[in-house]
Symmetry: C2
Subunit: 192 residues, 2 copies
DNA sequence: GAGATATATGATCGATTGATCAATTTCAAG
DNA sequence: CTTGAAATTGATCAATCGATCATATATCTC
């Protein structure tokens, strides 16, 4: 019927992702995308509709990768601790200082359409749900007191992640980032 | 000798500030500045050199206002508590969802020149110094144990502020922001 | 192989970007 | 009042923005 696509969609999304991730949406020009992917305008627009469409697919691509960092082999406080420490490590080691595309996107709110904003808010909710889930497990298993304020602890942990990501993007040094993570895990200290 | 300026520099900076604050640097067009200030291109460029020069003066203008929010009538933990709670209140009530221009600027690092980045990093340091100063006072006055890890506590508090500002910009609801503030002040709870 | 159809290409679109400029206006010094 | 210097104005600059297009090319179905 027709000619086949010569480039790999996922590879292109991955290359475009790095640009949006590092530069942000508004500061990224389509010419940056052409340079990063090696594609020409026509191919990009045929495959991704427009800049916003490209970003949304990039965002979903990122969200999938990001979701894979959530631990599945632990439960309760161990899962929370492991993930916070992993993210702190990644943020402290990230030489690109790109932060987290989800946090970057909700923070660059003005530059995005309502539809894109909603996508990003959805992913933020997903992060919060992860914390709630494991906090509930911890409270039920006796790791945390039964009267633990789950909402407060979940919001505080979301705040910690946002902070770690933003500090990473801002170029804060590793010690600062690890201190933030360490302090955030203090309320769970000494509990198995 | 010459014609006098017809507009007030500080007023213009204040009007331009709101635009950069809300939209970010990259997403702000000079035409947005003309609209916000009522000035024409020639006047803006004559007074502020270029977009970067304008932003730097806007940034200094903001930094002055921001510094004035730091409490001077309290010391030690009371000062820290008061300021964190004030910032949480401001972030939760901010209908513009603009966040904090200092945090926004370090987070939008890629869009700024090294000189502008350095200015923003300097202000971040200033915030940290505020925490260090009052933590030292608290430790010396017995509000905190003498062996308190000042660096860790200061970094954690900086992280809290970054988190509150970013969540505010992201449009998080008031409860989330207040939860972050509340959890951050927990290590100091019960201490006079 | 022929025809149909999707993709690749790169020139090019109008709009907007940051910035400049000549012309005009205004004010202070002499 | 004259004169020089600074400020205002609005047109306009080249460059870049996101996006489109006609054309050429490649692939699948028949």
């Amino acid at each position: 019927m027709a000619r086949t696509r010569e480039f790999d969609l996922t590879t292109a999304l991955d290359q475009a992702m790095r640009v949006f991730w590092r530069k942000g949406y508004a500061a990224t020009a389509m010419s940056d995308i052409y340079a990063a992917t090696g594609l020409k305008p026509g191919s990009v627009y045929a495959a991704f509709r427009d800049k916003e469409g490209l970003f949304q697919q990039v965002f979903e691509h990122y969200a999938g990768i990001f979701r894979a960092t959530l631990p599945t082999d632990r439960q309760g406080l161990a899962a929370i601790r492991a993930w916070i420490e992993l993210q702190a490590k990644l943020a402290a080691e990230d030489s690109d200082r790109a932060g987290c595309l989800i946090v970057n996107t909700v923070a660059e709110r003005e530059a995005h359409s309502p539809a894109t904003q909603a996508m990003a808010q959805g992913r933020m909710r997903e992060i919060r749900d992860f914390f709630v889930r494991h906090l509930v497990i911890a409270a039920q298993s006796g790791e945390l007191p039964p009267d633990t304020d789950i909402d407060l602890r979940a919001d505080a942990l979301v705040g910690t992640v946002v902070s770690i990501m933003t500090l990473g993007r801002a170029g804060a040094d590793a010690a600062t980032i690890h201190h933030v993570a360490e302090a955030a895990l203090e309320p769970f200290r000494g509990k198995k």
